[in-house]
Amino acid sequence: MNKKKKRLIMRSVILAVLALAVGYTFYSNLTKEARGNLQEGDQAPDFVLTDLSGEKHQLSDYEGKGVFLNFWGTWCEPCKEEMPHMEKLSKEYEGQVEVLAVNVGDSELQTKKFAEQYGLTFPIAIDSSKEVQKAYGVNPLPATFMISPEGKVEKVVIGGLVKENQVRALFEQVKP
């Protein structure tokens, strides 16, 4: 009887160890994909970029304000559509929500010309090393990350924001 109990415990322990190993394998395999991909609710990775006028912008400096972090390129058609909304609302929400546009892949000339053409006044930085793009796991453009005053990713929008209302709702979401 005692022996039977001992064996049961022994088997349970061995099976538990095996289950643990298998479980960990599953866990690490299934999270492999998600790793590096930013999800809503995650802490937004801090970064520092220099904008076209030479000013440095560090994300953590914006604590206490919402941030509209937009990744874009001049060749991307939907990016062009959302720029005017961003420009308009950045003025409206000044001091509450900051717009930070990160250009991916263009040269300075193109970015400057684009900003002039669209009359953009919010800071635009070029992520020439693509490090910020990688940190946020951005692939298709445009990609917008709404970052709360506490520095959390509130919302991730992949694709163009066609309507002003859409953009306004995003601004409202991260307003302090």
Binding site: I14, A21, S28, W75, G105, L109, Q110
Partner: protein, 546 residues
């Protein structure tokens, strides 16, 4: 559930087939069989429990060799299914899996994708299959090696005559054996490296028992190998990335967490040359035309000293300068950079001549860096070229009348120039693309004439880090030790017993019966001890005669 007490007095675990001590058959089936199944020495390999708990049920499921074999067969079938079409990892970058398989392979491709075979080796069920094999290996081994070890440890010298009779090699005769003959046989057995145990006139000679552990050592190696494979999915253990880097570019090396940067000084591709290379190559060159000799990236490795936030200017300190060739990676830390691929002649800069159309006179040259074009190119003497627009991958004119670009890569660069000359201080607007010029604001007196192009190569490097390699090597080595242990040695035993005026001789080996018989023949020769004969062989030849 109780123990089984043998007539000889030994207490065996429940489920034992042959008594661990004397070898008497304990079950009805064993009593009836012609030869005893000696694979596990008739030990209780799967202890039965009457009150089967869930733990016992799981245990018994995995302890079955039949289940183990099925798991292996299923894994084999699944693995081969994954090779029918290329895995998602290998399909071109610019297409998505959901359309690629159907477009390329038709309906079969669509089904393939729908069933998830496009990413088979990372799918849950495939990992589950492999993991089950691992579990089965552990439990099968434990369930067999422990009773087997017990049975071999407890075996008595004097085996019961029924046990001896049911061994494949067996002989008996009336009478007794002289002690000096026993002594002689013992001598020759010792010469053949047998360990000898004696008990009132009975003798057990045994050698090579450790070969019985071969399969289990082999399984331990396999389990270690599987653990190594499992660790690959753990962050930081395994990195396999691709870095596309242009000549002159300095980029962060992916997978190094921003610690290392690499500069591509230049990419070199060399072909075998009939004139310069040894004559032995000339025939092959004639037959095949161009044969590549070398793919090489001259690279400089830097460490980022400040390792600041993403986007921050790195503070690069040169670590080393090395040429990366195929099979000659650059190694640093635990990483290795391998030459993997290349793309030649990407446009880097374009040179134009500002030319007076009428006189065909060139005013000056303008070289435009396609990755960092300037606003204004001043040629002096009142001549100036202003760049109004740059479209690196020109794709026609959009709906809004603006030239469009498909991507930020200079595949088909186009420019909107404003040509300022003393005659036209406000400039003339000209649109210049490859093999195409337009003058959207009316005819111009000057034009930008294409004169030269600068190209550069892009090198593709594989970034590899594998901390699991030594575990895989260890597992593989142990696996091989098990194989060698089990295949190059045999577990041989000889029993001699005298009982009731009869002499019994039996022998057992786990393989190479012929070898054992020959060895015993030479040992027992010239004694009155009967040489054991292969009962199975004589039975077969008897059958044939009938």
């Amino acid at each position: 559930m109780g123990k089984v007490k043998c007539e000889c007095g030994h207490v065996n675990p429940h489920g034992t087939v042959l008594c661990e001590s004397c070898g008497r058959a304990l079950t009805e089936e064993a009593k009836k069989e012609k030869f005893h199944d000696m694979r596990y020495e008739g030990s209780a390999r799967r202890s039965q429990t009457y009150n089967k708990t869930i733990v016992d049920k799981v245990w018994n499921f995995f302890s079955s060799v039949k289940v183990g074999v099925w798991l292996i067969v299923l894994t084999l079938i699944a693995s081969s299914l994954g090779t029918i079409f290329p895995q998602e990892f290998y399909i071109p970058n610019n297409v998505t899996a959901d359309t690629y398989y159907e477009d390329t392979y038709g309906i079969a491709g669509k089904i393939y994708y729908m069933l998830g075979f496009h990413d088979l080796y990372n799918s849950i069920w495939f990992i589950a299959l492999v993991a089950s094999i691992g579990v089965s290996l552990v439990i099968c081994s434990l369930d067999r090696v422990i009773p087997l070890h017990r049975a071999l440890k407890n075996q008595r010298v004097a085996r019961h005559t029924t046990f001896m009779k049911k061994q494949r090699l067996f002989a008996s005769r009336e009478g007794t054996i002289e002690p000096q003959e026993i002594g002689k046989v013992k001598e020759s057995l010792k010469e053949s490296r047998y360990h000898i145990r004696e008990e009132d006139g009975s003798l057990l000679a045994e050698k090579g028992r450790f070969s019985r552990w071969g399969p289990y050592v082999n399984h331990i190696g396999l389990i270690i190998f599987l653990i190594g494979a499992m660790l690959r999915s753990v962050e930081g253990m395994y990195v396999d990335e691709l870095l596309w880097i242009r000549e002159g570019e300095t980029l962060e090396i992916p997978g190094t967490d921003g610690e290392y940067y690499l500069k591509n000084e230049q990419f070199i591709m060399e072909n075998y040359d009939k004139e310069k290379d040894s004559e032995v190559f000339s025939e092959a060159i004639e037959e095949n035309g161009v044969i590549a000799k070398n793919y090489q990236t001259d690279a400089i490795l830097y460490r980022d000293e400040n390792r600041d936030l993403p986007g921050a200017e790195p503070e690069l300190v040169e670590v080393k300068k090395e040429d990366i060739r195929v099979n000659e990676p650059m190694k640093f830390d635990q990483f290795a950079l391998y030459q993997n691929g290349f793309s030649q002649n990407e446009m880097k800069a374009m040179e134009f001549m500002l030319t007076n159309k009428e006189t065909q006179e060139a005013v000056g040259a303008v070289k435009i860096d396609l990755f960092n074009p300037k606003d204004v190119y001043d040629l002096g003497n009142g001549y100036k070229v202003e760049l109004l627009g740059y479209y690196p991958d020109y794709d026609g004119i959009g709906k809004d009348g603006e030239p469009k670009t498909k991507s930020p890569v200079p595949n088909n660069p186009a420019f909107l120039f404003n040509l300022v000359s003393p005659e036209h201080p406000d400039g003339e607007v000209a649109f210049t693309a490859i093999r195409q010029t337009m003058e959207p604001m009316g005819e111009t007196d000057y034009k930008m004439e294409f004169s030269n192009i600068e190209t550069r190569d892009i090198s593709a490097l594989t970034v590899r880090k594998d901390l699991t390699l030594w575990i895989l090597a260890l597992g593989g080595t142990i696996f091989m030790i098990g194989v060698i242990q089990g295949s190059f040695w045999a577990h041989r035993r000889l029993w001699i017993r005298q009982v009731d005026g009869k002499v019994y001789v039996a022998a057992h080996t786990n393989k190479n019966w012929h070898g054992l018989q020959r060895e015993l023949d030479s040992i027992i020769e010239h004694t009155s001890i009967p040489s054991p004969e292969d009962q199975q062989a004589s039975e077969q030849s008897g059958k044939e005669k009938n």
